[in-house]
């Protein structure tokens, strides 16, 4: 005989405000198997948990249903409470009458009815629960960081300083990310390279850190504590051990027409190149699409001039398989494509540039040696117009609904720097709002307005076109003075919206980590677990999680690191006993389940099966419970119902559905 106890939580007024908890108690008392029911203000409190313990003892309960918040919140709490009282923790079921009921209903009548139904379903399920015992799994004491921008660099350093090994996988030939492209950084205006380069050097020299540049993650299997990752190390065609970084090859390479990615295509680079002078590692790569040797078989200049004999045209991509306990995603961002924003004349005029391009123009190591010029004619611009929110806070489908967060600040920065360098220029900024929350941020912006006399115009630009004299014509509105503005400009700078790096979808799929509508990785909890993905063992660092400036990125990178360290410090992880199991009597051996299992937990065995008095050899599915994560994909793929998940069996689910439909 089952003896079920039901506990209905008020959650203060969170639940009790919309659900008549007393009525729920009365209703569940009538359910078969229920011998005890009560309500209490906060079931998760010490006193609430004590009530559970008392009832288990006094009423000899065989199963418990808690009607409360989401199991994500307190399932663990209540399982522990049951265990302390001597009941197997897996005999506890939660009916979520908060997120799924009181929070989404306004009407007490409806809310109460639904709460009773949810409770009934949980009771029907718990009647079929079986006691389960969790197992243990190992923790590989090494972390993987995907992306070598400032986020990845900082996370890797912090993990490594705590004594654990870290590998960084960076797609491009050098670590550094966007920060290496910036000139000076707000709010203190220190030079970006001056603060980044030492960190890059530190990562490079750290004995616990291993960097794979020009590499990408190709395949991920396993689970928290025990991932196995295939990394594709693309052929550089330059031997990393032999190359001294002298740069002669880059100087002599006759193919010099490829747009320079690092300079956002503002100039060109040779076929053999390092993206920038302080690159880490300082070893070039050959771009085979541009290389004459690869295209025609002739040339070979680099190989001839390389004194170290480092050039190797026969190098092949290499696949490296490594195990990790934790994975950090730090894949950063890019600016959006402006093809759909023709009104700003970006594709038509060389003198309309993005803010990131301006960073390159202002940078002493940039394509113009730090001279800000009009790219159309090389002249110094006299009148410069900045346009804010290009594609940000844009609810039409061509832009992004969110605020890119960094643009207001970098525009103030760029405006002031320009005025510093060229006191004769006029700078105008068209903005929707100026958003500068952050330590010393508003002061920074005020300085641009008050000390530097930057002309901030509240209003949007409707059109940029070419004026007859070859300058640009900017047409906009001034919302404060309520007037149309037409002005000629020499340079227009677009504060282009940022978006997560395109690759992140592929990465998220491989990691089974979730992303939101904008392709930002989602957190396990937006407030309480901001650096963890909902997928165990996956952590988030930097702009891949949401727009951030450098100080925020670095803070978050450190937070992700400590979460990783907390995981790697454990010797064993407790595994979920809710794993799948196939019944050999009903298994067809069809492989449907094996194909959908994301963890490779299913294999096949020839087994002798006794079915209806007949002995037969059959191919049957076997689940490796150490690998199974209890995702349930296999049980859905299995046509015959042979595959079943402990704790969420087909019978239990059907019993719930039946209880709801009753």
């Amino acid at each position: 005989m089952q003896r079920i106890g039901v506990f209905v939580c008020h959650c203060g007024t969170n639940i009790a405000g919309t659900v008549d908890v007393k009525r729920v108690v009365e209703a569940v008392k009538k359910e078969p198997g229920v011998v005890y029911a009560e309500d209490y203000q906060y079931m998760c409190s010490e006193a609430g948990q004590q009530k559970i313990a008392d009832a288990v003892k006094n009423e000899h309960l065989t199963g418990i249903v808690i009607c409360s918040c989401s199991p994500r919140m307190h399932e663990g709490t209540f399982r522990k409470a049951a265990e302390k009282a001597g009941l197997n923790p897996y005999l506890v079921e939660i009916a979520n009458i908060r997120e799924q009921c009181s929070w989404i209903h306004k009407d007490m009548e409806e809310g109460t009815e639904k709460a009773v139904i949810l409770a009934r379903a949980a009771i029907a399920k718990v009647m079929l629960n079986a006691p389960l015992q969790p197992g243990e799994s190992r923790v590989v004491k090494r972390a993987l960081v995907i992306g070598g921008g400032i986020a990845g660099i900082q996370t890797a350093l912090d993990i490594a300083d705590a004594g654990y090994e870290v590998d960084i996988v960076e797609k491009t030939p050098s670590i550094g990310g966007r920060m290496s492209q910036l000139d000076k950084t707000f709010p203190t205006l220190d030079c970006s390279s001056c603060i980044l380069t030492p960190k890059m050097g530190e990562v490079n020299a750290h004995e616990k850190i291993n960097i794979y540049t020009y590499s990408e993650v190709e395949k991920v299997s396993g689970f928290v504590g025990d991932f196995s990752v295939d990394i594709r190390k693309k052929a550089r065609y330059v031997d990393m051990d032999k190359c001294t970084g002298c740069g002669l090859c880059q100087e002599k390479c006759p193919s010099r027409k490829t747009p320079n990615e690092f300079n956002r295509g503002l100039n060109t680079r040779p076929a053999i190149y390092t993206p920038f002078a302080q690159a880490v590692p300082n070893v070039p790569v050959i771009d085979t699409e541009a290389c004459i040797k690869f295209k025609t078989g002739k040339c070979g200049v680099c190989s001839k001039v390389c004194a170290a004999g480092a050039i190797d045209y026969t190098q092949k991509d290499e696949i490296i398989t490594r195990e990790y306990g934790a994975i950090v995603v730090a894949t950063g961002f890019d600016t959006i494509n402006l093809d759909k924003f023709d009104e700003y004349y970006y594709n038509q005029s060389k003198d309309v540039i993005t803010a990131l391009e301006l960073e390159r123009l202002m940078n002493a190591a940039g394509p113009t040696g730090g001279n800000v010029v009009r790219l159309s004619n090389g002249e110094h611009p006299k009148n410069i117009v900045f346009i804010q929110c290009v594609g940000s806070r844009d609810v039409t489908c061509r832009g992004k609904s969110y605020c890119s967060k960094i643009c207001c600040m970098y525009t103030a920065k760029q405006a002031m720097l320009l005025k510093d360098h060229y006191p004769d220029v006029d700078v105008h900024v068209f903005y929707i709002d100026v958003r500068t929350p952050g330590k010393n941020f508003d002061e920074f912006y005020r300085r641009a307005v008050e000390e530097y006399d930057v002309d901030y115009i509240k209003g949007q630009v409707g059109k940029v076109s070419e004026a007859e004299n070859g300058r640009l014509l900017v047409q906009g509105v001034d919302l404060i003075d309520n007037r149309q503005i037409k002005m000629e400009a020499d340079l227009v700078v677009l504060a282009t919206a940022i978006e997560p790096n395109k690759d992140v979808r592929k990465i998220a799929t491989m990691l089974t980590a979730s992303i939101d509508n904008n392709n930002f990785l989602t957190e396990a909890h937006p407030k309480l677990r901001p650096v963890e993905s909902p997928t165990a063992g996956i952590f988030l660092s930097g702009v891949c999680q949401g727009p951030k400036d450098i100080p925020e990125t670095v803070a978050q990178a450190g937070a992700a690191a400590i979460k990783v360290v907390g995981l790697l410090a454990k010797d064993k992880l407790v595994t979920n006993p809710c794993t799948a199991q196939s019944n050999p009597l009903f298994c067809n051996g069809c492989s449907a389940c094996e194909k959908v299992c994301p963890y490779g937990a299913i294999s096949y065995e020839e087994q002798q099966v006794m079915d209806g008095g007949v002995r037969e050899n059959r191919r049957v599915a076997v689940v490796n419970s150490a690998l199974c994560q209890g995702c349930g994909a296999c049980t859905v793929a299995c046509p015959s119902g042979a595959m079943d998940l402990k704790g969420f069996s087909n019978r239990q689910i059907l019993a719930e559905v039946d209880a709801i439909c009753r």
Partner: protein, 322 residues
């Protein structure tokens, strides 16, 4: 043709290549031959092959490939897809089958002849493109095209996907026919209420004889969930009309991505329910969402529904399309 097949069967039995033959045998009427197993050369006297041999023999190979020795099996072009699918699902052993691919001009549909006025049918003879019916209430002659099964109007073509040898009437070049999804499209354009009424009307005639499931090469489970008392599903489908209809929906989901569109389910349904249209809707959707895929065209590709790639369509798009 029939004589040629009998001769080859005898030869293969005689030289020990195979130990039994899976084919069709005369029924009590001239238009209902049935699947049959022949174990001796003499018994092959009963063997038939004509336009009424629509029955797909591949599913029999599940049992037969568990026996000692090879079995000779005759497969029409469309049957070879089912055979491959079963190989892919590890249900039949390719090595245990000797396959003769036979040609097919479209399977005949006796019900279509009855609908067109043939009453009291005694004998039916085929001659190229014409079919002659001798009947008590007047003989009739039909164009073959007018009396073939609906599934044959959506023929996937004459090529055999797998075989050891081909009979002389096999026409590997015969092209697939167009308009496979035209009936599905008709149902798709109905508004949801109309569509629901359409299926309710069709499915309400079901008498749960299970013929569709039993004939279906994809429904080859050792123990079908609808027969399994362990999961509380067995009695479910019988409980009321709603759940009875669920039987068909669930079955359609179970065979989704595995159904080769052989059309056997609709052929055998005594209530003439166009079951294959449910499955064809799935096939059409799979094709549009994941690129063209034909179950059973090979034995090793990964079926879109049990595969996962980063190019997979987003759920929101599936939802939008309805």
């Amino acid at each position: 043709m029939q004589e040629e097949l009998i001769r080859r069967a005898k030869e293969l039995l005689g030289d020990g290549t195979v130990v039994r033959v899976m084919g069709w045998r005369k029924g009590d009427l001239s238009f209902n031959p049935e699947p049959a197993l022949f174990e001796t050369e003499e018994s092959l006297a009963e063997f038939v092959y004509d336009g009424f041999c629509g029955a797909n023999l591949s599913k029999y190979m599940i049992k037969l490939s568990k026996l000692e020795g090879k079995t000779l099996v005759f497969l029409k072009p469309c049957d070879t897809y089912s055979f491959n699918q079963l190989v892919k699902e590890h249900r039949v052993d390719r090595e245990k089958a000797y396959i003769i691919g036979v040609g097919c001009d479209g399977s005949l549909d006796v019900d279509a002849m009855k609908e067109k006025g043939a009453k009291g049918i005694q004998e039916i003879t085929e001659d190229g493109d014409t079919v002659t019916v001798r009947a008590i209430y007047g003989d009739k002659t039909f164009d073959r095209e007018d009396v073939i099964l609906e599934r044959c109007r959506a023929c996937k073509g004459g090529a055999h996907m797998v075989y050891d040898e081909l009979a002389s009437n096999a026409d590997e070049e015969k092209p697939a026919r167009d308009g496979r999804f035209s009936l599905v499209e008709k149902i798709e354009v109905m508004d949801p209420k109309e569509r629901f009424a359409f299926w309710q009307n069709e499915l309400s005639r079901c008498i749960r004889c299970n013929a569709c499931r039993n004939v279906c090469p994809a429904c080859s489970c050792i123990k079908c969930v609808f027969d399994n008392d362990r999961y509380d599903t067995a009695q479910k489908a019988n409980a009321d009309t709603f759940e009875e209809q669920m039987f068909h929906i669930i079955r359609a989901f179970h065979v989704a991505g595995r159904c080769t569109d052989c059309g056997e389910c609709s052929r055998v349904c005594p209530e003439h329910i166009p079951l294959h249209l449910l499955n064809r809707k799935f096939i059409k959707d799979i094709n549009t969402f994941y690129g063209d895929y034909q179950a059973g065209a090979d034995t090793d590709s990964r079926a879109p529904l049990t595969n996962f790639t980063t190019e997979d369509v987003e759920p929101s798009i599936v939802q939008e399309r309805g």
